[in-house]
Each structure stands twice: as C-alpha cells, then as structure tokens.
C-alpha cells in the first residue's frame, strides 16, 4: 500500500506535467494542422531560459518567470512566422521534417551555451516529504500536480470560453469561414504557437524543479507522442487523461516490475492504441473521402 501511494503521486505528477506539455502540442495541431516534433525542445528552452534568468542573472523568481514567458512567446511567434508560415500549403511530411530540423537546432543551441552537464537550481517548490496512508510522498510532487492542474484548468477555460479561445476553435474548424467573420487566421496561428510555448515553459520549469535542468528534458518531452496519440491528437480532455495514464503506467511498471521496461512501456501503449483505436481513445473517428 505504501509503495502504491508513492508511485501514484509520482505517476500523477509526471502525468500532469506531460499533459501540460502535450496540450501545447494539441493546441498547435488543432489550430494550424502542424505536427510539432519540437515540443520536447520547447520544454528544454523553457527550463533553460528560466534557469538563465533565475540562477545566472539572479533575478527574483517572479521576474525570472516573466522573462521565461517572454522568451517563450518570442520563440513561439518567431518559429511560426519565419519557419512554418513559409511552409503553408506544403505536404505534411515536409512540414514534419521542418519541425524535426527545428528540434535539432533548438537542442543544439541549448548545448552550445550550456553544455551537456546537468545544472542544479535552488529549489522553488517546497522540499521534504509527508506521509499519506503509510506512503512517503515528496511535497514538491504534490505541488507540481496542483500547478499543472491549475494551468490546465485555465487553458481549458481559455479555449472554451474566451473570445480568443473561441476564435482559435473556429479557425481549427473552418479557416475560410473564420476569415469571413473577421478573424485574422495569421494572428490565431501566432497565438497558438505562443500559448504552446508558454505551456511548455511551465511544464519544463516544473519538471526541472522536481528533477534537474538537463538535456534529458527532451526525452521526457518525447513522451508527448504516446499521450497525444492516446488522446486522439485534437482532444483537450483526451490529452489530460492520456497524460495521466502514461505517467501512472510508467511509474507502476517501474515500481512493481522493472525500471528498464518502464522506459519503453509508453511506446508499447502507443503501438497498442494505434492497433486498436488508431484515432485515439478520445479522438474523433474520421472517415476521409477522396
């Protein structure tokens, strides 16, 4: 029982961070149709830009977060404007290759400035552990769950209710119709990339705080693929459930079976979902007519 509670909390915290990272991916896919292979690198950029502001430049935490948000917005908008907009109308494969190239460039840039050594950052979230139902639970994991839940809630609300969120859904649904009611499709594209980068920033910083600031964040970011495939690529609730599922499955396999197996189990889930429900557990069943 005690192991179970510990694994549950760790799994939920990693799942929540994953869901947040994956939501950024889904946002971009929904609004612009681009499959962004650089989402993991966005986490990396987020974590390192916060690290730079907080540790290297010694800014107070609020200011450091603002710097992080600013960098995220700029990176998102620049990537959309100068890398993806020229690709409008190109084939899906070409666009995917461009985002893979972008991923290499972004992680190489981080390595260029910071090398491959993990960096330590003073803890932001409270350390220590509490005992819940006999299990030892790190407090910062609990905080990570709370932070991700709040941000996920805000983003979902933004998407459902706010004027700009509704405009984003409209563009995802029918670009031509969106233009004729006066929505600037370009602005919506830029906004999706900026929001995706911000959600990646929050995911990246939270992850860096409960682990370390290092290149491995990219590998964690790769896990967004099992998550979004499971969620059905364009479903917000699907992404949240997918993130939590992948996080929990990984931790339980690691704790009860074998940590090595836990490394590959998300991808086994991915293959299984593709075999059984290729449109995802929550995805819309699409019949393409040619």
């Amino acid at each position: 029982m005690s192991t179970f509670v510990t694994l549950l909390v760790i799994g939920l915290s990693e799942g929540a961070i994953l869901a947040l990272a994956a939501l950024g991916f889904v946002l971009i896919y929904k609004a612009t149709g681009v499959i962004n292979f650089a989402q993991g690198e966005f986490l990396l950029i987020g974590a390192y830009s916060f690290y730079t502001a907080f540790v290297v430049m010694q800014l107070p935490i609020v200011l450091a977060l603002l710097v992080g948000v600013l960098v995220a917005v700029v990176v998102g908008v620049v990537v959309e404007r100068f890398i993806l907009r020229p690709m409008v109308g190109q084939s899906h494969i070409s666009i995917i290759m461009v985002t893979i190239g972008l991923a290499s460039v972004l992680s190489a840039l981080v390595q260029m400035f910071y090398g491959t050594q993990p960096r330590s950052m003073p803890p932001i979230l409270p350390r220590g552990s509490v005992s819940i139902l006999g299990g030892t639970v790190p407090v910062n994991r609990l905080w990570a769950i709370v932070i991700c839940a709040v941000v996920l809630g805000l983003l979902t609300w933004f998407f459902q209710k706010s004027r700009h969120g509704v405009a984003m859904r409209a563009v995802a649904d029918d670009q031509q119709a969106a233009m004729t009611v006066g929505i600037s499709v370009r602005r919506v594209f830029a906004m999706s990339w900026a929001l995706a980068a911000i959600s990646a920033l929050i995911a990246g910083v939270t992850l860096a705080d409960i682990t370390t600031v290092e290149m491995n964040i990219v590998n964690f970011g790769l896990l967004v693929f099992p998550v979004v495939i499971m969620g059905g690529l364009d479903s917000v609730p699907g992404t949240i459930v997918g993130g939590l599922t992948i996080g929990l499955v990984t931790q339980f396999v690691s704790g009860y079976m074998d940590p090595g197996l836990a490394e590959i189990v998300p991808y086994l889930v991915l293959v299984l979902v593709l075999l059984v429900r290729p449109y995802g557990v929550f995805g819309e069943k699409r019949i393409e007519r040619v």
Partner: protein, 288 residues
C-alpha cells in the same frame, strides 16, 4: 450608408487562373438599400466575382471599392436605424476603400459579410457559438482582458448575446440554439449561415446561392427570410441565384454574367427582355 447611394463599385475586374479567364473586365455597381442579384449559367464566374468582393480571391486586375460611413465602422455601431434618405448626405463622413488589396478578415471588419454555396459553418460549435463568432469583429478585448470574465468582458458578452438572440428570433432558430451545427438539417444550416453573417451587422451581405438544393417550399421560406432581413436590418444584399422566379420576385436589380463577362444589367424585367440574356440561357435563335 443611406439608401440610394452607391455602395459597392466593381470596375474592370479581371481574374485569371493560369490560362483560364474567370472574369473579364467586369463592371457593376451596387446601390445601398437594394437586393442585387447576380445570375448566369454554370461557370459564368458568379462565385468568383463574390470571392473577389469578400477578399478571398485577389483579382488579376481591376478593383472593387466599398463606400462606407466612417463613424459606423470606426465605432462598430451599425445597430442604429439607417439614416433616412432625406438625411443630409454631405454631413456624413463617407469614405471609399478598395477591397481588392485587403485580406478577408479586414473586408469583414469594414462591414461586408457573406455566406457560401457549400455552407462553411463551424460544425463542432453550437448555433449560438457560431453566431457569437459573427460578433467577433465588434468585441473589443485583447488577449489578457478576455481572460478575465468579470467586468467589461462580461457586460460586452451580454450585449452581444442580445443582438445574437434578435437574429435567432428573426430567423426562427430558437429550437436549435444549443445544438452543434454539424447535426442540423441542410436547410437549417443554410439559415444559420445567414444568421451568422447577419450577426456581423454588415452594411453589405453577400449570399452565394442561399437557396441551392432546396425544394420549392424551402425556397419560399428562405426568400421570406431574406426579404425580412433586408427590410428589418436595413442591409444591402448581393445574391447569386439560379431560380429565375425567385430572382424576379425579390431583387431590385440584376446583373447577368456569361463566360466571365457582363451581358446584361438592369431591373429584372429589363434583363428578362434582353436578347443576349435569352441567348445565353436558351441558346442562339431562341431570342427571335
């Protein structure tokens, strides 16, 4: 724009797709307060002409110019009754803007709304959400203030909702308000699309075959709604239609296209009597 004034002027409009000339030196003028029909055989270039007006197509040469009263557009207020014809035209700040160099969303902001031949609605959103999107251009919040539900954003939302509800009443869509548009019948979707365009409170409404694929009864209903919209909302309408009876019934003026050229322009009766029009529709020799 007071009725009787020129509202939209198309001059020397040419549109080529590679070697195909879709429109060749088209000239036409739409007067404010009228229902202006564009007719012509299949492939005559009617939809292309409408797409040039709404900014979706960029013409090869020529221009489309819209005249508008600056105050109306600037403040996003077109809900007041249109100025009476007697109003002093000189006292209004009337401006002219070329639509052909603007992207579609800017054309919409100048007060030109449209519907499509093959219905372009947001299938996953409800009827109300679709129509609220029609209010998008009138909402004045930025990304940050729109995140705060309370205060100005909320008051605005309520004001916009009232206008949308009026449109819902006008088009008798009450029963479908909360339904996702994708689940509704074709005829209802056509009406929702008209409603969304109307929610923009446009000065000019472009309707691409609003009655396509309807039976006689549905067509009659749609014609009724279009006349109601024209009368109650005081909006000028340009519409493409195939059914000659409908065109004769509801339009004030008709422009006839054939192979991208204007072959007739005038009142419905003048157009009906035009030998070139009869020839285009019925073939050579029919006019004699």
């Amino acid at each position: 724009m007071p009725p009787g004034q020129p509202l939209l002027r198309v001059s020397d409009l040419t549109l080529k797709f590679g070697g195909v000339t879709a429109l060749a030196d088209v000239d036409m003028s739409v007067e404010s307060g009228t229902i202006h029909a564009i007719i012509g055989p299949n492939g005559a270039g009617k939809s292309s002409l409408l797409n040039c007006m709404s900014g979706l197509y960029r013409p090869t040469s020529g221009s489309v110019a819209l005249r508008y009263v600056a105050d109306d557009v600037g403040r996003g207020r077109r809900d007041q009754p249109a100025a009476s014809p007697e109003a002093d035209i000189d006292s209004l700040d009337i401006r002219e803007r070329a639509l052909t160099s603007l992207p579609p969303h800017r054309v919409a902001r100048l007060g030109v709304a449209r519907s499509f031949q093959n219905i372009e609605l947001f299938d996953h959103l409800t009827v109300l959400e679709n129509m609220m999107l029609g209010r998008h251009i009138h909402m004045k919040q930025n990304v940050l203030t729109s995140m705060l539900w309370f205060g100005p954003a909320r008051r605005q939302e309520i004001a916009h909702r009232e206008i949308v509800e009026e449109v819902v009443d006008l088009l008798k869509l009450q029963a479908y308000r909360q339904k996702p548009v994708g689940t509704l019948a074709y005829g209802i979707q056509k009406r929702v699309e008209l409603g969304r365009a109307l929610a923009l409170q446009p000065s000019l409404l472009l309707l691409d075959e609003p009655m396509a694929g309807m039976n006689a009864e549905e067509k009659e209903d749609m014609a009724r709604y279009i006349l109601d919209v024209h009368e109650l909302a005081g909006v000028s309408i340009v519409l493409i239609e195939h059914d000659m009876n409908v065109v004769m019934d509801i339009s004030n003026r008709v422009t006839v296209l054939d192979f991208g050229k204007v072959i007739g322009d005038g009142t419905p009766q003048e157009v009906m009597d035009n030998p070139r029009v009869i020839e285009a529709y019925l073939g050579a020799g029919a006019a004699s």
